[in-house]
């Protein structure tokens, strides 16, 4: 049990829509997230990705079933603060997550609220800013930073709480290509170098390729689960869900269909180039 950080069992979440009908946003979802994993969740808008993620730190509570964080049920409100310290969330819009007028004060906000002693706060803020490579900006005004920098500050603010797991809900959706690259490489470095558990929700399939494991959601259920190679080589299935496989996977799939002998698990440009060289 010890290596499991988050586990849901038949997790359901229902809410009423505008017409008073009950919408089943999550339908018996059972997932296990292990410590140190990088898990990507993909799916169309309305598939339940964010609803699921919001159970991971008790922002939403199960209508039925269970969600355990480090063995604690989120539905037990007495444990809510302990759970929120274990699982930190980063959302889409960096502007909505910034509270202070100076970068380091913003990062200090979390530990200050937890009553962490001042010297310890200092250390945590320094560590967190170093981890997202923003130390040089510690005295800057956050609202004047670029989107990618703001998002890294938001991540630092979560790291300063010293969580066991980082949940990011489309953290790059509002960023330009450069900002996207900054955020993804920061998260991926935190996972590889510090062993931070990462749950990463995205619409960019090329980002999901970096994960150890991909969960595919549709209509409130997890319908597929596997390595990026296993998931994205099923080009037709991904397309049928309204998602897009990485370009190299799509081209490889067309080529295989036209009789070319290529491995079934090509998902990157380099793999495709290599396979084509070898097939001669």
């Amino acid at each position: 049990m010890d290596d499991i950080i988050i586990q849901t069992k038949d997790l359901c979440h229902l809410y009423p829509n505008g017409d008073g009908e009950l919408i089943r946003a999550l339908d018996k979802v059972s997932v296990t997230i292990r410590r140190g994993e990088f898990v990507a969740i993909i799916g169309t808008n309305g598939s339940g990705k964010s609803t699921l993620a919001k159970h991971f730190n008790a922002l939403l509570l199960p209508s039925a079933g269970q969600c355990l964080v480090d063995g604690l049920p989120v539905s037990d409100t007495g444990d809510m603060w302990a759970i929120r310290q274990k699982v930190g969330m980063v959302f889409q819009n960096p502007d909505n997550q910034i509270v202070a007028a100076v970068v380091e004060e913003d990062v200090a906000f979390g530990p200050e609220n937890l009553g962490v002693p001042p010297l310890e706060i200092r250390r945590r803020v320094d560590d967190a800013l170093a981890a997202v490579d923003m130390t040089d900006y510690r005295l800057h005004a956050p609202h004047l930073l670029s989107g990618g920098q703001k998002q890294r500050i938001a991540i630092a603010g979560v790291l300063a709480i010293r969580p066991d797991c980082l949940v990011l809900d489309e953290p790059t959706a509002m960023l330009d290509p450069l900002g996207r690259e900054e955020v993804l490489s920061t998260v991926s470095r935190l996972n590889k170098e510090q062993g931070m558990t990462v749950v990463y929700i995205t619409h960019f399939m090329e980002e999901a390729v970096f994960a150890d494991r991909v969960l595919v959601m549709d209509k409130g259920r997890i319908i597929r689960e596997g390595t990026p190679k296993e998931i994205f080589s099923c080009v037709e299935e991904i397309a049928a869900l309204g998602l897009e496989a990485p370009l190299a996977a799509e081209v490889a799939w067309h080529l295989r269909n036209r009789g070319l002998d290529l491995p079934a698990d090509i998902i990157t440009d380099e793999e495709l180039a290599l396979a084509l060289c070898q097939s001669n």
Binding site: T44, A173, D176, G242, V251, D269, S279
Partner: protein, 288 residues
Amino acid sequence: MSIKLEAVSYTYMPGTPYEKRAISDISLEIEKGEFVAIIGHTGSGKSTLVQHLNGLLHPTSGRVLVDDIDLAAKTPEAKKIARSVGMVFQYPEHQLFAETIYEDVAFGPRNLKLDEAEVRQRVELAMEFVGLDYGKFAHRSPFHLSGGQMRRVAIAGVIAMQPDYLVLDEPSAGLDPAARNAIFAEIVQLYRTRGITVILVTHNMEEAARLADRMLVMAKGEVRMDGKPKEVFRADRELLHAAGVDVPRMVELVDALRLKGIDIPEDTVSVDSLVREILARQRRENAC
């Protein structure tokens, strides 16, 4: 009939310590019926530029003419012509405010002092255009919709003004591929059937390459490149990189393949043509 910029520069907060020149000396003309994509890094001046196109900002120096009327002129004509340029901002769903979708979309047309029958007709048309069923959605709250649907309501609000020029700032940001494709399909349909001019600000190079006839690349407040998407993406990779612009995924893939000595034409842009090229090449090699 065109939008014409003559040596337009804009400086934020002039005469203060925060003074910042956002765009410098931009001259260009966008003809009626064009589909223009504007791309560039955050802070390159894209949004400042498009806010000049309907007079939200007036140039610090230079002029903006819409159908030959100077937007900065304080005349009724200038006011009227500014309305022919519809603007869909980033995350337009944040601007929804009314209790029902009908009321939200009707807000603009009512400000034009149209009678209610005409307003209703425009709302119906606009909702149909963005793929929202009038009977089902008109009297629902816009706040209980999905992200993609909310954005459609916001776009319908602009379309109901029946603009001749439509400016969209990152219309697909934050949407999943299905919603993204649906919104772009609607924009293309609007472009084709109404013959309106579309000016699209985007980070999505695939969409820019696929949809636009013309592409402007901005960096540091200047228009650095202006041409057909194919020319722009192939012309000067270093300039594009310096402008912080990603080339389309297809261009990257073709580059990666060519780097490994797989000989396919540099200007391959679609999956179909790439697949055909690779197969043809494979047959040639096998024949030797």
